[in-house]
Symmetry: C3
Subunit: 362 residues, 3 copies
């Protein structure tokens, strides 16, 4: 049993080595080279927004480690929303303040996962993860993000594992994160975490998006610094064709426009103007010289799911041999397990280790 680590609301909260250690442990759990156990610990999952993968991967992953989950759906009638601003008279809206909720749930659970999507009013607010930060500030057990208003670090960890499984050493390889059409404005949590995951692995990350859809400059600058320190880079462009050239991975995702953040009408116009040419098609994955005879040639296709077929990406890509979206989703469970084992100081056994190889539990 190691020391419990502090809360985990995004990649910048932890040193790169700690993040890579989680990815390593996830790979070992998946490959049967390590067995984890949570020894009856209880993980509280507090969802302010709907979830399929995050919820199912956590519930299944914790159960498979011998722990239990307590899942609370704030949106589903079962629980209520939470106030997180300090000093306000709580006359309307939420009946409970995060100050109480975080402290109380800390008495029931050994860790608390929280999902709170962007509110799409002001980017400065969403950027600061107000609800998750408030939870972490008031909780007395580790808090981790089940997707916040600015980052989705569980997705980033799963994507890092997938990239390593598929690319071997990803350093210096080209990952293109391409904006995609969508009927609704979506948060920037996933794209931010994808860029950070690519930077962590030392990849050459190119964000291709329409002019209005640039990502947050500060987050990009920090990711660029990290990437460069690890042999990669981060750049942004609105030249989609140039970005796709030479890509080894094409990661599609829709997100909202920073320039008109919270302005539903202007945002819809920007999305409509960008239009269907950003839908990912089979040709977008083809190697530089055009279609190849070699099966599996071309870029890998990634998406965090759920994905709107034939809007974000065509069926032929999703159902083709270069799509790794299900592998990404599976890796959500292994990386969540690894994160919780580290966050809670759970036990990790190495079944293959011989007694004289050293301690069985690390």
């Amino acid at each position: 049993m190691s020391e419990p680590l502090p809360s985990f609301l995004g990649f910048p909260d932890w040193a790169p080595e700690r993040l890579l250690d989680v990815v390593d442990l996830a790979a070992d759990l998946k490959g049967g080279r390590a067995r984890g156990h949570l020894g009856g610990r209880v993980v509280v999952l507090y969802f302010m927004n709907p979830s399929l993968r995050t919820r199912a991967s956590l519930e299944a992953g914790v159960a498979r480690l011998g722990g239990s989950t307590v899942t609370l759906d704030a949106g589903a009638g079962g629980v209520w929303g939470l106030e997180h601003e300090d000093g306000v008279p709580m006359l309307g809206g939420p009946a409970e303040h995060v100050r109480e909720a975080a402290r109380v749930l800390s008495r029931y659970g050994d860790a608390i996962g929280v999902r709170a999507f962007a509110r799409f009013k002001r980017w400065e607010e969403d950027r600061s993860e107000p609800l998750l930060r408030a939870f972490a500030r008031h909780a007395t057990v580790p808090v981790f993000s089940l997707e916040g208003s600015c980052r989705h670090p569980l997705q980033g960890l799963a994507d890092a594992l997938t990239l390593r499984e598929r690319l071997g050493d990803p350093r210096g390889k080209k990952l293109v994160l391409t904006w995609a059409p969508h009927p609704k404005p979506l948060p920037m949590a996933v794209p931010n975490s994808v860029v950070e995951a690519g930077a962590l692995l030392g990849m050459r990350v190119t964000v291709a998006r329409p002019p209005e859809f640039g990502l947050d400059p500060e987050i990009m600058a920090a990711a660029r610094a990290l990437a460069r320190a690890r042999g990669g880079d981060v750049e942004e462009t609105d030249d989609r064709a140039a970005a796709l050239a030479g890509a080894e991975v094409v990661y599609a995702k829709s997100w909202g426009a920073l320039g008109c953040y919270g302005d539903v009408e202007q945002e819809a116009i920007a999305r409509a103007r960008a239009g269907a040419r950003w839908t990912v098609r089979p040709a977008d994955l083809e190697p530089a010289g055009g279609p190849s005879d070699q099966p599996g040639a071309g870029a890998l296709f990634m998406h965090c799911l759920p994905v709107r077929r034939n809007v974000v990406v065509e069926d032929a890509v999703l159902d083709g041999p270069r799509s790794v979206v299900v592998q990404q989703a599976e890796n959500r469970m292994w990386t969540a397990q690894a994160l919780l084992l580290r966050l809670l100081g759970g036990g990790v056994a190495r079944p293959a280790a011989r007694p004289d190889d050293g301690p069985l539990y690390a």
Copy 2:
């Protein structure tokens, strides 16, 4: 540990021997003659529609076998609905396709149960169980029905166990499935599965219903063939009194009218015309010669629950000694356990077996 079996969306998916083996195992689990264990396996339960018995019996049953459930409520804000048509641009409605959901949940769970009620648009569509079939086609673990748009096989298994417990050898005995009034049009999943359960047991099944409420001819024909091969029969009639004469079991259930399927107005007229004379009353259970002095004489009363009292059936029947509705509901848990043990190749111990009686685990 035996080989995992394929998906189970309705009785016709499995050979009669396999179905009866599940009923046998359920009886042994209930009687303490067998103990099952799922060894930490995870069962995903995906509900597109509300549930009390199915959900509670599965969650409790799996926990009692040492497994875990991950329950996802698509309707409750916690999760979203699923698209199941292929090739459509997913611009509105569901945010996820069953192709992804089924493959992803297969990575988290060892089996997936799915509930998807009839959509009441076109019977040809509901008859084919489009969502469940799509789930089973794309999943890589066994899929089983938590009630589909055409069948409710978990109910059928529980009813088969109940009929055997109450009747001993049910072969040749008369089971009357009688249509009943209801304020809303209901699916045909339960009546179809009740007829198939009676046929499996070789009973003489009579479906009594108003003229507009005949069940699907193909399903009835297949059930009739099965029943005849096993010493019974299946027939339909609108002569309620004749049907009830000599019944050993009266199973009440409301369902919609095939002739005006999806036409809410015409359907309501048909239901109103049939009216209250189809409500089950104490006299309907009386033996042929009128009320008997013998306690418990007359037909058994069955219903799948939930039941609208004094609409479908009068209090005096439900609260009387011939009602077995709670036993049916209890058997939902034992048959679900038996099904999952077979579906997942779980372990079954026979505590009473002596070592020389053969292998302890079958």
Copy 3:
């Protein structure tokens, strides 16, 4: 393993000794002087209304005892409401009667917890806990309240433990339950149970409230008789200042007005007239002689949570050193565990006991 005890819908259901035994056991579980185990038992939690603390404390508490919970949210789309009146034709509203639900859930679970808030139509109805009583009458396993329309005994048990932890011997000490403002009329379940908990501990309980907000006279009379028999008393007053003088504990809670029960408009007027002077402020906790130099001097502050900050009570009180609201909430888990161990006859081990100290399991 001891004998299972009957249902627990409120303090009056059990003898004072049994209630205190639960509080004692909870203290021992919390202090590590006892370890409980539920041996795989299944507890069904049926919520007709939302819950955070009750749900999370039960789910976590049962998991930590090696049991499982099956949680059903009647309001959340996952399940339906229940009819509890007898003899009615169930043409509209709930699709299931509590007669069936209680008997069926008794076959799946080893105990059933039910939450059913006041309907706010007629006090005579809410006072009788109609839904919980119906559940208990028809169930064949122990039923316990997750908060009813008249009492919240799990809160009362947790508060009793908190009062004992904080006050040592609470006999004769002054507990002031003060009405508080709130944007909506709230049930009387918590105030009734707080008074009963104070009475059980032999405290001098004073209920301070505006004239229109007196509690039920019969419940108060019974609590007064119990309190007097145990060295305390129960009184009511609308003189807030006099009530607070000499208080060792100030328990704030809002509740509705009996005089205009179910009359939303009149009730809102009564609440508005009482107004903000009932908000608890730091000065309300000060010792008789004014602010003290001694840290922690003055009354303790209690509330059941969730609490509307700066409406019911000011931030400075909640965030100050005299607030024990989180301790109260934590004690919900320990007392729920103790209750279930007694209700289900679960095992209790005393790790510190030497073999010759007597039986290990009590």
